[in-house]
């Protein structure tokens, strides 16, 4: 049982002249009515998730196995407990993920007893809808957009939860919690709906949909502090481990079957961890000794480089790479 009481002076101040009613609240238990920043963020996210479940016909939660979607899934679990999460989760699978991530995904979905939809980029390629990029720098990151949009359409999903945060990237810092997408899945940053108080407008026509970002106001550090506070398990690759990596464009890429090591690139074993988890072909590792949550928090607190800056080749294409991808319907 959590304890919460009242600081008398504060309540008296808030109540102004209505002091006579004070003893109603007075229960001999003195803690003040304050919420920590993590609890405040948690409550805001739960409120958003419940609004979506109540107002949309077919929501879906996009789950990548990364720490943000793991936290988002936990928040969804909290929002409806003891009932089950009333919507499925969907994984846009590039086929280029780390084994640990698949294991984690399947275990978690089984625990929660919810439906998993896998939309596979490989299937899009096999069916001739998409063409695999060529060359040693080929990545399936870009291809995810079409697979995602097709899957949303196929299943008739009208709301899709994403784990994006505004602190991640400058285009994302301008995006609403409810992000309207037209029938082509496009985001129009110049024509966003005003979003006031905690009143969200999810109205849309058939064929359009809304992306929902319940973690908009969380930072990378908040996510890790929450993982620590809540005892949330994340895939091992987020913690320091030995791995064969090579350097490309200033990033450390893991040697996997999905990337081609080019001439001059020298694979070597280093102690690394992943700050973000995405397509193995464009997600870099960072050198790190952080083997526990607390060590990760210390590392994140001290870092001088953003997580995407350190680890994402996809954002390096140009100044507005993220905005351009988002306009096309990316996460």
């Amino acid at each position: 049982m959590q304890c919460c009481g009242v600081v008398v002076a504060e309540l008296a101040k808030a109540r102004g002249t209505s002091l006579p009613f004070l003893p109603l609240f007075w229960n001999g238990c003195v803690v003040n009515y304050e919420l920590s920043h993590l609890k405040t963020l948690e409550s805001e996210s739960i409120h958003i998730i419940r609004e979506v479940a109540a107002e949309f016909e077919r929501p879906v939660l996009l789950f990548s196995g990364g720490k943000d979607s793991i936290v988002m899934l936990r928040l969804a679990e909290k929002a409806f407990w003891p009932a089950k999460i009333p919507f499925p989760v969907m994984h846009i699978d590039t086929g280029h993920n780390f084994e640990e991530v698949y294991e984690y995904r399947d275990r978690r979905v089984a625990e929660l007893g919810i439906k998993l939809v896998v939309a596979s980029v490989q299937d899009s390629i096999d069916s001739g809808k998409q063409v695999e990029q060529k060359g040693p720098r080929a990545s399936r990151n870009q291809l995810q957009t079409m697979t995602l949009l097709d899957a949303l359409e196929e299943h008739g999903f009208d709301a899709a939860f994403g784990g994006a945060r505004r602190d991640e990237e400058k285009a994302r810092s301008k995006e609403r919690v409810y992000s309207f997408r037209d029938e082509f899945g496009q985001w129009d940053p110049k024509n966003q709906r005003p979003e006031l108080w905690s009143l969200y407008n999810g109205r849309h026509l058939r064929g359009e949909h809304i992306r929902i970002f319940p973690l908009s106001n969380w930072t990378e550090l908040d996510i890790w502090q929450y993982i620590a506070e809540d005892g949330i398990e994340v895939p091992n690759i987020y913690y320091a481990h030995e791995r064969e990596v090579f350097e490309r464009d200033g990033m450390l890429l893991a040697v996997t079957e999905f990337v081609t090591v080019m001439e001059g690139e020298k694979p070597e074993t280093r102690t690394v961890r992943f700050r973000t988890v995405g397509d193995a072909s464009c997600t870099g590792a960072v050198e790190s000794d952080a083997r526990t949550v607390q060590q990760v928090i210390d590392e994140v607190s001290a870092t001088r480089v953003t997580e995407r800056g350190a680890t994402r080749a996809d954002d390096r294409a140009s100044e507005a790479a993220m905005e351009d991808r988002k306009r096309q319907g990316y996460f």
């Binding site: 009481g5 009515y33 003891p82």
Partner: protein, 418 residues
């Protein structure tokens, strides 16, 4: 335990707002090397002499190309004392729409004034919007003090000039801070150039301003978001009402009333995933379990029998119009969203349009256009359960939605029953 403080900044291109935010972020080590490198890079390509910190927040392609800020940008930083969310609102284009959006959830607003120019029309506008939105704390940052030789007299002139205007507004906490964002005077640390100033630096003020009592802990209001019925073996008869406390405090054993039905019962238990709690207050998301089985659904309001919100269909509100393709006028039919309740509304009449520069009330006005605001009477298809906006931002606010385009076209702050 660190608290969360949300603040909005308002200002125009030239008054140093970006520099100030850049300074706060930089000095709190919240600007990262790769962000700085990309700003330096972009500035150089634009032919600027030094890095333009505005580029940190102006992330959209169009903003960079045109050198303007289009939309509210959110920035995050933390000190050991607090976590901060900045809603950085552009001051010039669509100022009202943007500022209203960014300021609606803010605990504090910073309005920048250029010490050389003094109180401009737009400083008054920003302060007015802050007061209208009931942002509890307002900071007037008198910037560019270095360009007026850190003059105490100049600062006092501005304090006096602004103070006489602010007296006409409803501002509960007003603080003036003289600073130089460029040189860092009174931003993070107190200035050596302005020893005459006895107040604290801006960051110190942000870290210590008392926000806990800004919340309404009196009027217990719980708009029901959804009903949780697990229907599993373990929770066979479970029926929980999920929502976020809008204001006030709820405790197990409290007698409560459900609107619109008017039935009363008692709170049996307050659940969260992490266990039962013995009290829930704003803005906690919880699940209420009641002693009696009552028909309750989304859009209903749980309150206390001796302290109920107003229940009415005829409502007066200050409305800010946010659409550029349509106008508000008598007869406009719209969808209205208030707490978790959605209804339809018709505009009965526009009582006056407010000139936000002069505060003049134009009673002959027949429409509200983009960025205009005025006092409006509406009638709704269903009763809404509301409090005055000045008493509760959560139960006193609504949005208006165009039924044809689905756009959010209006923001309303309730004054009371018509």
């Amino acid at each position: 335990m660190s608290e969360l403080l949300r603040f909005a900044t308002a200002g125009s291109v030239d008054d140093g707002k970006s520099t100030l935010i850049g300074r706060l972020l930089f000095d709190s080590k919240s600007i990262f090397e790769d962000q700085m490198a990309s700003v330096a890079d972009a500035s150089e390509r634009m032919g600027l002499e030094g890095p333009n910190l505005a580029l940190l927040t102006d992330g959209l392609r169009a903003e960079r190309e045109q050198g303007i800020t289009i939309d509210v940008a959110y920035r995050y930083f933390a000190t050991p004392k607090r976590k901060f969310i900045i809603a950085d609102t552009p001051g010039h284009v669509q100022y009202t729409r943007n500022m209203v959006t960014g300021a609606s959830t803010a605990d504090l607003a910073i309005v920048l004034i250029d010490a050389r120019k003094g109180v401009l029309e737009q400083s008054r506008r920003h302060a007015f919007i802050a007061s209208l939105l009931r942002i509890p704390h307002l900071v007037i940052a008198v910037n560019k003090m270095d360009l007026v030789d850190y003059s105490e007299d100049r600062f006092n002139e501005i304090v006096e000039e602004f103070g006489s205007f602010a007296a006409k507004l409803d501002i509960s906490d007003l603080t003036f801070i003289p600073l130089s964002a460029l040189n860092g005077d009174n931003v993070v640390t107190r200035s050596e150039h302005m020893t005459w100033f006895e107040g604290s630096s801006l960051l110190h003020h942000l870290e210590t301003v008392h926000i806990a009592s800004d919340r309404n802990l009196i009027d217990a209001r719980f708009p029901v978001q959804c009903v949780l019925r697990p229907q599993t073996e373990e929770f066979h008869d479970y029926r929980g009402y999920a929502g976020r406390v809008a204001s006030g405090v709820f405790r197990p054993g409290d007698e409560v009333m459900v609107l619109p039905s008017g039935f009363t019962t008692k709170i049996k238990r307050i659940d969260t995933f992490d266990g039962e709690v013995d009290g829930a207050f704003a803005p906690m998301s919880v699940t209420l379990l009641l002693e009696d089985e009552i028909d309750i659904s989304r859009g209903d309001m749980i309150c206390r029998p001796q302290n109920q919100p107003t229940s009415a269909q005829d409502i007066d509100a200050m409305v800010c119009w946010l659409a550029d393709e349509t106008v508000l006028s008598a007869g406009s039919k719209l969808s209205i969203k208030h707490t978790t309740r959605t209804a339809r509304a018709i505009v009965k009449n526009l009582k006056y349009r407010l000139d936000i520069n002069s505060l003049h009330r134009d009673e002959s006005a027949e429409t509200l256009q983009l960025n205009e605001m005025g006092r409006v009477s509406i009638r709704t298809t269903l009763p809404l359960f509301f409090d005055e906006y000045r008493r509760s931002r959560e139960t006193g606010s609504f949005i208006l939605i165009d039924e044809a385009t689905n756009a959010t076209v209006g923001a309303g702050m309730i004054l009371g029953e018509t």
